[in-house]
């Protein structure tokens, strides 16, 4: 009887957006009289930080700092349609809609600035700090604050834009399954190291090293929070979770967080995250959807590591001490 160590690897990909497309999202952008920008959506922020990312996307596109952008979302009286926040689609779909709306608003803003500066709009650029200037002659500039005031009270222009993003729906061919499920895929490779006690069947995940390719890390800190959380969820799925531990007997199904098994802080592995960025052709600034993908590769990596440690395959999730001990017993008997 001993503590045995093993390691396992898994490599995966994951589609961005609703399978087979057909999932639209719209956005509206408008300027306030003093040059702040409102993004109006009906998308839902699940706590992952959707509003923050939409603000950064709008700010980058308009050419203002992020704190000049306010996101108003999840109200069906004011926000245009969004299919919803699921299928790793929020950033990709809503982000593209926000870019389109913000570009239209930016164009009006530059046209008003051009009138004020008596130049062509195509000769203007934003400095990212809240000013519009002539390309190559930054001393000739006007603040976006002043441009917005002019648009509202002098020029009678609405600095606003409409955005819509839709991947047309694909219908699978009945006999061959020919179809277009998605336009871009995120990728991952995970290596997990475990210790397995072959007397108790208990598994300790020592380290999890995840490499994720996500198109573009729009906000690296938020990417990190999502990827680390996902990695923990993957471990939990591999080793702990079931709502029906003795199915079809429904007794002992967890009804609260005392009974429903999940890893506690002390059970979490040392977690490393490496991020690669291969921009997708149709992602907002190249971003793909990593939200679901990041919780998947740990499961097979841990399963493979358990085999590497003790030489038995557990092909049924979750990989509980009971299942490991039964497999060890069966192997010893054979």
């Amino acid at each position: 009887m001993a503590i045995r160590r093993g390691r396992g690897v898994a490599a995966i990909n994951y589609p961005t957006g609703m399978n087979l497309g057909g999932d639209p999202t719209q956005a509206l952008v408008h300027s306030t009289p003093t040059g702040n920008f409102m993004v109006t959506l009906s998308s839902v922020d699940l706590g992952q930080g959707m509003k923050q990312i939409m603000a950064q996307i709008c700010a980058e596109t308009i050419g203002v700092p992020t704190d000049r952008v306010v996101v108003d979302t999840a109200d069906t009286d004011t926000g245009p349609h969004c299919m919803g926040t699921f299928a790793s689609r929020g950033t990709h779909r809503a982000g593209n809609a926000v870019i389109q709306a913000a570009k239209e608003a930016r164009q009006v803003m530059l046209e008003v600035a051009a009138e004020e500066l008596e130049v062509n709009a195509s000769d203007l650029e934003t400095d990212g700090q809240g000013n519009i200037q002539v390309k190559g002659a930054p001393q000739k500039s006007i603040s976006i604050f002043d441009v917005a005031l002019s648009a509202h009270f002098k020029r009678g222009r609405s600095i606003s834009g409409r955005g819509m993003f839709l991947i047309p729906r694909s219908y699978p061919e009945k006999e061959t399954g020919a179809m277009k499920p998605s336009t871009c895929y995120a990728h991952a490779c995970t290596v997990a190291e475990v210790e397995v006690d072959d007397e108790t069947g208990e598994v300790t995940v020592l380290t999890v090293k995840n490499v994720f390719e996500i198109g573009r890390a729009l906000n690296p800190k938020m990417v990190e929070q999502q990827l680390v959380g996902g990695s923990w969820m993957g471990i939990s799925h591999a080793l702990y979770e079931t709502t029906e531990p003795y199915y079809p007997n429904r007794d002992h199904g967890g009804t609260d967080f005392n009974q429903y098994l999940m890893p506690g802080p002390g059970d979490l592995a040392q977690t490393e995250i490496v991020v690669l960025e291969r921009p997708s052709a149709d992602g907002p600034f190249g971003a793909k959807g990593p939200g679901e993908m990041c919780a998947n590769p740990q499961i097979p990596a841990v399963a493979n590591a358990v085999f590497d440690a003790v030489g038995v395959r557990i092909d049924t999730l979750p990989i509980t001490p009971e299942r490991i001990l039964r497999a060890l017993k069966a192997r010893a008997a054979s």
Binding site: A10, N19, F86, T176, C184, P220, T255, P279
Partner: protein, 455 residues
């Protein structure tokens, strides 16, 4: 976290002002100081609380329902049964033309899973609603139930859901979604080794911090405002409109920050019945799942079974892969026909295999209805695929990581569903994992690229 900017630097525009910057989240201070408003922070004078009477049986005919004692219970304002729901039989994916309608808002004549909603009680307090719910008398005739997907698919198995007529979802392609690419039997015939293995999973809980729920307020002008933590505002509004036979213009949905979703809040379960309660009583209604309901009543991730048969050559090439996937939808469709179909699109995984055969089934049993969850249609498939990859590598005596390099998809490779691979990055992820985990592979694999030669 480490950002490795050296990969794909030639195709990426860095140095933007706002994108790529680790800006602090503008909503964080509200979250960490308890100032962020969630739907349940809405509290209206005269608000009623809704509690459900649920089926204690997996499969039963309802002979009769007696609500008289419950209605007399102090604090009870209204008791709802199937006849009160304008369009009681629904299915949420009808909005994207995935039918038939197969589920009841409140059970009508039959229950098909243990926990199914039968009667809704509206009362002045949660306690009164709970106590009154216990006084509802339902006379059941227990029917044979089927708990296992393989049993459900056998001839003569108890029929779970009459609206389907058989215990599987009927796609336009037949009993399963199919992918056919190359000649899988010819591939097996040429293979040095064949390995067929079966993988299974249990349902799991989304475990959000905030349980599913909504608060509905009548606006006094025939409009109803529904404060909800749904993950999909218009999807929920439009389904509520169908169920309630109420024009969408009469409904106003307000979301906001949700305390975690993970796919568990896209089923449109609480909103329609709460709006109906508000309409019939003229009072605000709160319907919030207890933690027990969240864990044992709301849809979990499906139990799945995946059977993979592979033909592999001694040199490491996989020449044929046949996958049969089974998704246990439980008693009703919800999002499962979509999830099972997503699996068909995902297999055979991120590998280039010349001969592929995929069948994915969405199966009905008398189990708690499953639905969407993070990684829907893919997570269990990836578990099965990647354990299978490990077994194949060991079968031919090859390093498991090197074995994946040999089969990894690259730009331009044709996938089984007949889309050319674009934007691949699996090889680079594995190269970086090799370094990060100190798992050396042969130099030729470290020199590979996902880019197509000459591109």
């Amino acid at each position: 976290m480490e950002l490795r900017k050296d990969y794909f630097a030639d195709v990426r525009k860095d140095g933007l002002n706002e994108i790529g910057q680790p800006r602090p989240r503008l909503d964080s201070p509200g979250h960490v100081t308890g100032k962020t408003a969630y739907f349940a922070d809405r509290n209206f004078p005269g608000m009623l609380h809704l509690k459900m009477v649920r089926s204690p049986h997996h499969h039963a005919r309802i002979r009769s329902i007696d609500t008289s004692e419950a209605e007399k219970h102090p604090g009870v304002v209204r008791v709802l049964t199937a006849k009160d729901v304008p369009h009681n039989i629904y299915t949420i994916l009808i909005l994207i033309q995935v039918g038939p309608e197969d589920e009841t808002v409140l059970a009508d004549g039959k229950v098909r899973w243990k926990g199914e909603a039968v009667v809704a009680v509206l009362a002045e307090t949660e306690r009164a609603a709970q106590e009154a719910a216990a006084k509802v008398k339902v006379d059941y005739e227990v029917l044979p139930a089927v708990f296992d997907m393989e049993e459900a698919l056998k001839p003569g198995a108890p029929l779970v859901n009459e609206y389907h007529g058989q215990n599987y979802y009927l796609y336009d392609s037949g009993e399963c979604r199919k992918v056919r690419f190359g000649d899988v039997e010819a591939g097996f015939a040429q293979a040095d080794h064949i390995l067929e293995q079966s993988y299974q999973s249990s349902p799991i809980e989304h475990a959000p911090t905030e349980t599913t729920g909504c608060v509905v307020a009548p606006e006094g002008n025939d409009r109803f405002t529904c404060y909800t933590n749904t993950q999909a505002m218009f999807f929920t509004l439009d389904n509520a409109s169908i169920i309630l036979q109420m024009p969408g213009s009469k409904l106003h949905f307000v979301g906001g920050t949700v305390g975690g979703g993970f796919g568990g809040k896209v089923d449109v379960i609480v909103e329609p019945i709460a709006i109906l309660g508000a309409k019939l009583t003229g009072r605000p209604v709160s319907f919030v799942y207890s933690r027990e309901e969240e864990m044992q009543i709301s849809s979990p991730r499906a139990a799945e079974k995946v059977v993979i048969k592979d033909g592999v050559m001694k040199d490491g090439r996989i020449v044929a892969r046949k996958v049969t996937g089974y998704t246990d939808a439980g008693a009703y469709s919800r999002h499962s026909p979509y999830g099972a179909q997503k699996g068909a699109a995902h297999y055979p995984g991120p590998y280039t295999i010349p001969n592929v055969w995929i069948d994915t089934y969405c199966v009905y049993t008398n189990r708690t209805p499953s639905s969407a969850m993070r990684g829907f249609g893919v997570t269990i498939g990836d578990f099965a695929l990647e354990v299978q990859m490990d077994k194949l590598a060991r079968l031919i005596g090859m390093d498991p990581l090197e074995f994946r390099f040999i089969n990894a998809y690259r730009d331009g490779d044709m996938k089984a569903h007949r889309q050319p691979t674009e934007g691949a990055a699996l090889i680079e992820c594995m190269q970086e994992a090799s370094r990060a985990a100190n798992w050396p592979v042969a130099e030729k694999y470290m020199a590979m690229s996902s880019y197509r030669k000459g591109a």
